[in-house]
Symmetry: D2
Subunit: 324 residues, 4 copies
């Protein structure tokens, strides 16, 4: 039996995460399905001569998403757990770029300066044997992840360039195959959006652009009924993680560490200050992005530091899982 | 002849600025009209015993707006100039409050801390003889303005709590009677929203809440056809101003000063660096808010420093004005 | 009888505020004295052709100060009140400049970018009839103040480019004639430093450079024995003010508002949250600088909002004043 | 033959990094020596009942350092390379704490709020078999490093709590055994300070306090004559790293990435924009601290991404090395 494959009808990708878009597919908990995502440049940069400002319309028509996907049984107040099973390149190349007045080491439209922009550059990155070719001397392994994954916010319809409590353009390498991404359900059906797959990315996505690629993404969802989370969480085999998005970067970090403390208190019987002290000694913090309209930071704790409480997890039972 | 009076149908205020809402009225350039706005708490705090967390649903159902108002002739790529002719209290009191985990001198959901919240407080501020009564000892003059004024963003639908390039919840005292607010037209009809009138406010709105009041607001609009602005501008009898909204606060200030330099270059024949140097010596910068999801700063230059260029303004002629 | 005149011996200005420098003079409370200060470029930019990078050594040999001045009777734990009686230009010009990678609208060594620097510019600003000539079209009134005024920090010796709890390079127009600047005494004798007089400055000193001038400054000091303050305060005829210095700008603002609340509680019998609410409605906040290693913000409250408590001030009596 | 052992005379540790302190020892390039450092609480917290505010004097008498150490042959304009050979606990415990108004998830004296402080806590962390005992359930491996290492700044004398271009209180786990720390020589003899050893620390040191311990530290120094660096660098077997310290956190990150680009350009023949693009795909960024007066971020590139250029390194020859 084959998985359901979801692609955007007529290639009319969406540029906002919101409940106003009609669902393009419906999925059930527990069953794997495939989503086809197009790269952040919507396929317009295919050679080193294709410059962003010449080929792309620019914000807000940027970062095209596949979705929304309606999850059967999802109700506001639940948490949607998205198991990322696989992310495969859809083409034999990825692409990176320098875009004027965008990135971490240049004045931008928010960190406004009078300096001339950096030169515009497009760099095609061939994919071969599971490796990405940067130039004649340098290759690097593929490490694919979804730059953008989120649910529709409540009432709002937000640019797919923006990360926030609903997920969105977090640009965190942790939303990769093998990990489970927890997102808040804020509308009936959850309304999941995915896109912006990256073949790999450095911490912070400092140029503003990763190794952008179109992808085939295999997902499976489940629901935690009646569990409200404030910010996205990620669970891997080894780590509990929370993602905060804000400016300045320390506020994103504060959010992420506080949300992780909340998780430790709720599910692992920690006292809040004890969890805080533990993170002071064993917490990990990774820079997702330092270039998007809000920056994203990922707080992590290795499960080895859950003590015996890890095994006595008080994880809420999932009605949806039981039924399925 | 009486002005058109616009009120929200059925009291169903909106909580987002976006093109998805049906227009509640249509207005023509050059003709004054009246908008009725309700206070930011939607009339729910009417005594010192009405606490926010008990009476109000909280975000995103917060900061109710009257709108959208369709401006005849407005096309994307124009600038909408809103002349604020009058802002009058609709009741004999305003109200201020301390809301848990909200404000400038407390941990918040973005500047996340583990500290206990400050006590919750509601304070009714009677209005008498044009003055606001703070307590038995202290009164202060009314200085009314619109905390929120903006047009619908392009593609997005954004919470009315958020300020941005489209205006929104800037909480700047400069959007007051006698001043003209320039807003970008990003959708056909412009789609103007107003609300969140304040009887007065300190710089930065440091508690997160001003003297909130319902109001009758008299406006008149005109269009600058084919003029694209990046951020809101304000013109008074004495000053040119630009409003930037971002975090951290210095980014809001950078945006505001850069936008003001752009205005001086476009309309007053300044060289950009000369304008920059002039602002270094004569620029004014006021803190609008330091509490909203983005902070707002207002850059200003007194018109006396335009030199003779002030009189030889190259302001684009407005076709709409001509026709009307 | 003539005032004591203090000038730096041998023109060997100092570039740090610290207790390691030998005092250049001793002053008594209650007696006016004159300090001669040299401009921030140490007199090296005297024509539009004198560029900063060609003429000046650059940090840390920048922002030359006159001092330290030993205040008789000052002990750690006191507060030094510096009454600024007059600030007069010592020459018939001031000077402003654009310095590469320095200023509010450019990448800097702290907001590090890869962009090329802005052009370097020096602009002599002739002073005539109490006015500053910007160019052929634009003149502006003199509004002199001390860009740098502070006491020696405890243990540390800090660059005169840096503002902090001890005062220093706050670049706030509020340290002007007619106002009293409160500084912490952290070493025996207080050890006062002054310099960096500005003929005038825009809010935030956005280019990084004001109208720099050499000056004759008339001061008178008094002591508040046993009063410890955390950050500088300023009192004028009309306002109570506190100055916070930090990055990002909102932290400077938070410090300033909180210190002002502390003052209202200590000396004017306010409850802290009541003072907070009052500042939400009537507080003023001015951007001192947004360009120095720490940014400075000035929180203010008009004395009319002290209520009757203003007259029943509980200001600590000053033993030093009594003696003198 | 035994190594030279350096300890602070009379236990009179220093609390500032500056050239004003007399050197406590002189060392030669190429010869290992041992430094004894005391923990950040100067040995005052020895049980869970020893609270910080009761036992410790607080800033600026905080974070005691061993030094300065005079490096023979070091001249301003050189770079001092400190090889950390070993860091061993001097006692059988480390200690962590929650200090009022200090840390990443609380209002602080810079991120000033009106909230009550978090509870004060001291937690002794027994060291046994190379592991740190957090509580009955949780142990973690030792991962010792120097929280503070730096040279004397030029002209200034800065609190040992502050990190900056001279190193200082960076609280980065990268200054650990096996790594070489590059520091600018700004005074004759370099004037090296070390202290604040940590048995381990979470990313960002979120509580403000790591596992603080007294230590025996084995170092060896060399000089890169005539090499000026702007910010500290670290070299490990696998990585090139640069450390930026500033607020907000993104400015620390910008500094670190830009300094690393500078290194790639100077020593590995990269073009600056090519290096920038490479870091966008393969750069690593770790949060050193988000709690000190300036925050510290560590930018890294794995040496595998140096291409063949890694082997053809243009590292400047070191005269000092040649001589020794």
């Amino acid at each position: 039996m084959q998985s359901q494959t979801i692609r955007q009808p007529n290639g009319e990708y969406v540029y906002t995460l919101g409940a106003g878009h009609p669902p393009i597919a419906r999925v059930e908990c527990g069953k794997s399905f495939v989503i086809e995502t197009i790269d952040a440049f919507e396929g317009r940069l295919r050679s080193n001569h294709d410059l962003y400002t010449a080929r792309c319309p620019g914000p807000p028509r940027a970062n095209p998403q596949t979705g929304p996907i309606y999850v059967e049984g999802a109700e506001p107040g639940d948490t949607l757990v998205v198991h990322i099973e696989a992310i495969e390149p859809a083409e034999d190349f990825a692409v990176t770029a320098l875009i004027p007045h965008f990135g971490g080491l240049t004045g931008t439209h928010l960190t406004a300066t009078l300096n001339a922009p950096l030169p515009e550059v497009t760099r095609i990155l061939p994919i071969r044997d599971g490796r990405l070719r940067f130039n004649d001397l340098i290759e690097m392994p593929l490490a694919p992840f979804l730059g953008t994954i989120g649910t529709a916010p409540e009432l709002e319809s937000i640019s797919s360039l923006v990360p926030g409590p609903w997920g969105g353009n977090m640009d965190c390498v942790e939303t990769s195959a093998g990990n489970a991404v927890w997102l808040p359900v804020l509308n009936r059906g959850g309304l999941l959006f995915c896109g912006d797959a990256h073949a790999r990315q450095g911490d912070g996505e400092v140029t503003g652009v990763a190794a952008e690629m179109s992808a085939r993404v295999t997902l499976r969802v489940e629901l935690k009924k009646g569990l409200k989370i404030s910010w996205p969480r990620v669970e891997s085999d080894t780590h509990l993680m929370a993602i905060g998005s804000a400016r300045p970067l320390e506020d994103a970090a504060r959010i992420a560490y506080r949300e992780l403390i909340g998780w430790l208190v709720e599910d692992y019987a920690f006292d809040a200050l004890e969890a805080y002290e533990l993170l002071g000694l064993a917490g990990e913090m990774r820079v997702g992005n330092m270039v998007d309209p809000s920056y994203s930071m990922v707080a992590k704790l290795h499960k080895r530091y859950l003590g015996q409480r890890g095994s006595a997890s008080t994880n809420r039972p999932s009605l949806e899982e039981d039924i399925i």
